[in-house]
Subunit: 463 residues, 2 copies
């Protein structure tokens, strides 16, 4: 089988080496590490790793898989935390990492066209050299591919001004399950039927393989300023960030930590503060930075927040990709940790937050939460839990139980079970409950596009 594929696309693009097969059958889902600790293997390991370099290679591989009735899994950067790349049966894994080219920088339209396998940080570095920036900063930027960011509907630390990946995608190219090629161009907006880009954003690969993308870029901001506040009460702080977003300004960063996560932060950095930390960032033209920070400061002061200046904001920015403290804390608590990122409208978020907090409190599980993606109509809450378990087996069982319980709390409160991590294998059990009839629409499209269920079977769709 692998030899036939090698004949088609070239020997150096096909591997059956066990190291490669293992490497491309896992991502950084916490559960993945536990599986490996326990069983030394992820649940399924791909038989063949195919590493295309061009769209034509991808077409050949998709056709090969379909014609030979082999399942096809897609691996972008392997930075997912919910198991989106993990094979659910035997098959071929498409390793997209070699498709990392930058095709076109359109400096007039401020867009860049790339192959989908390019790593976020590599694209950012390329842009920075020309004084541009993507401003899409997911925690995973150093390992996530652009295709993966699109397929999982990623968002970034500067989302409050620039939006999620859905606000970046101007156009894309995708290989459909029948081997045909879709291309949506670079139109800024159109009313020519439902937006086809949005069929693929968040699709987790089930409708085809994203091979190229045209993304918006930005000029480097003239000025960047931080400002931090401390609140004694998390709900008053929540009211403040709601007020900020609803006032019509767009600070790129609004990060509010609850008292537990603030305490961990203050402790780690050696600050003697107490309460809930709010980090704000303003950027752009000098006049805009001044105006927006003035509006925001007035709102925070009006809510009796303590103004602690810019220092902690700058420290956050410098260390924002450093997750060592989570791993250290995880060891300290002796088990495993994970993050459950929910989101709800403003009128539902406080009840959701309270119920999630109570859930963990009752079970004596440490929970650190922050609110970091803020909208006029609602907000996301990022819940990091540190689970203490007797042994690995118990850890896995408790882990699944917690996920299921928290998703149930979310659904009961009409919140989403996933704000930006995607569904993968971790959240699939509850997806249908959230989407309702929407699941049927996705399934109907999948059934017609991929009748043999070749590409990413078992992902996203309830069969």
């Amino acid at each position: 089988m692998d030899k036939k594929l090698a004949e088609l696309i070239g020997k150096d693009k096909v591997s059956t080496d066990i190291g490669d097969r293992l490497c491309f059958s896992k991502d950084v889902t916490p559960l993945c590490y536990k599986w490996i600790d326990l069983y030394k293997l992820p649940p399924y390991v791909s038989d063949i790793i195919a590493s295309p370099e061009t769209t034509e290679d991808v077409i050949k591989i998709v056709n090969f898989a379909r014609e030979n009735n082999k399942k096809l899994f897609i691996y972008g950067g392997g930075s997912g935390v919910v198991g989106g790349v993990i094979p659910t049966e035997s098959g071929i894994t498409l390793d997209m990492t070699r498709m990392s080219g930058i095709i076109n920088l359109d400096e007039e339209s401020l867009t860049v066209e790339v192959q989908s396998g390019i790593i976020g940080q590599n694209l950012e570095d390329f842009l920075n050299k020309k004084n541009y920036t993507l401003r899409h900063f997911p925690q995973s930027i150093r390992s996530a591919s652009v295709g993966g960011l699109i397929a999982t509907k990623s968002t970034g630390q500067f989302s409050t001004k620039y939006g999620g990946i859905e606000n970046y995608v101007v156009g894309l190219e995708a290989v459909l399950p029948d081997g045909s090629l879709l291309n949506t161009g670079d139109k800024p907006r159109s009313s020519t039927g439902p937006d086809i880009n949005n069929f693929f954003i968040g699709s987790e690969g089930v409708f085809g393989v994203i091979t190229k993308a045209i993304l918006k870029i930005y000029k480097m901001p003239e000025e960047v300023k931080y400002h931090c506040f401390i609140y004694s009460d998390i709900f008053r702080a929540l009211d403040s960030i709601r007020e900020i977003m609803q006032s019509g300004i767009k600070p790129p960063v609004i990060r509010l930590y609850n008292s537990e996560e603030s305490r961990l932060k203050f402790e780690k950095l050696g600050f003697d503060y107490d309460g809930c930390l709010l980090i704000l960032c303003f950027e752009g033209k000098k006049e805009l930075v001044e105006a927006e920070s003035s509006v925001a400061k007035k709102i925070c002061s009006g809510m009796h927040a303590r103004d602690i200046g810019e220092e902690l904001g700058k420290i956050w920015f410098e260390n924002r990709f450093d997750t060592r403290h989570i791993l250290e804390k995880e060891e300290e608590y002796g088990g495993m940790s994970d993050a459950i990122e929910l989101a709800a409208s403003w009128s539902k978020i406080k009840k959701l937050y309270t119920e999630v907090e109570e859930y963990f409190k009752k079970r004596n599980i440490t929970l650190a939460s922050h609110f970091s993606h803020v909208y006029t109509s609602g907000v996301s809450v990022y819940n990091i839990f540190y689970l203490n378990a007797g042994d690995e087996k118990e850890a896995i069982d408790r882990f699944y139980q917690i996920w299921d319980d928290v998703m149930e709390i979310a659904l009961k409160n009409e919140a989403t079970i996933s704000h930006h991590h995607g569904i993968g294998i971790i959240k699939k059990t509850r997806l249908k409950q959230e989407l309702g009839k929407g699941m049927e629409l996705i399934k109907k499209l999948k059934d017609n596009l991929d009748p043999e269920n070749i590409i990413n079977p078992e992902k996203l769709i309830e069969n």
Copy 2:
């Protein structure tokens, strides 16, 4: 047939009156008036007008149509300009005008839930009384329904800050062709598969009947300011508005008229100016208005624009829904007029504009154009042409020819054939060329959702 339907939903909700049938079989497409002049009838007239008051009524009507193999057309406010509501064969028309209720105003989340038949201006009036505003101001706001705005992917005069209707829809309810009910809730954002709302935004009714929507609303801006400039050169003016959008500020209104449309405006209003008029509006918190207008003014002055203050902006705002001058001009030129709204990326817009201008110049047809929806990556151009024709029959033939030619120019330049009017019956011939494989995705979903092709047959999809 109509009696069976009357039994199901009530006698007062069903009509076969010829006046009603005519009324709900047309919209304000210029061609529609010509058809009526010529033939006294729109091309098809619905047999039955069904006027639901509740979602349950809609479900009954959809089931009735499917079970009796009758086609179902959807009429929102009848404000469309491309024939989206015009029946393409005999059948039932769903008159959504009675579904005009306001269901819930969520003042914390700044959202409003409405039945889809509510007219935009009625919703705006309701909101204004409570010091809120939609800020979605399509030209058709006084007659368009919210459902129609969503189904055609509308945009509004304040789009540069608030976006198109796709940036407003938080959630929606729709009756699918099988009579089942879809509801997407009020989550601010989620990564739970492709966004289901986007399946319906721009769908022109082919996937089902939108019955409710949850839309973002805004607080009334603290301050609104206008500022106008005149450019001697349209391309330098285009460079300015690109620079403004790419500088990171968000003036809600950026309207740039070419010299011909500016001339008509100056003439009508009694101003002795010459050149291309640019109207800018800034709104929101006082600090923001000051900062944004300062940034924009610097950019315009740097491009040698003549600063003419705020007056013309205020006049535009007061008269922005008045289209009498177009109708007067139409009479003056002795034929018919229409608007073709295209959009392209910045790197493609100047060539597109030049080719469209040359096309009309060669044929001695008056063209007035403006650029009024501006993005960081591109811009839309609104081309109003005044067609002079010998008789009605000739007018219709020339009209079709112009549309086809201009769409061909757009497609050749990788522009979209529709920025915000939708496809309807006027642009359908060229849609597949623009969407390519995307058309297949829409068709595959339609085939599976509505296998008997009951709802809005012949719309959007190439059969």
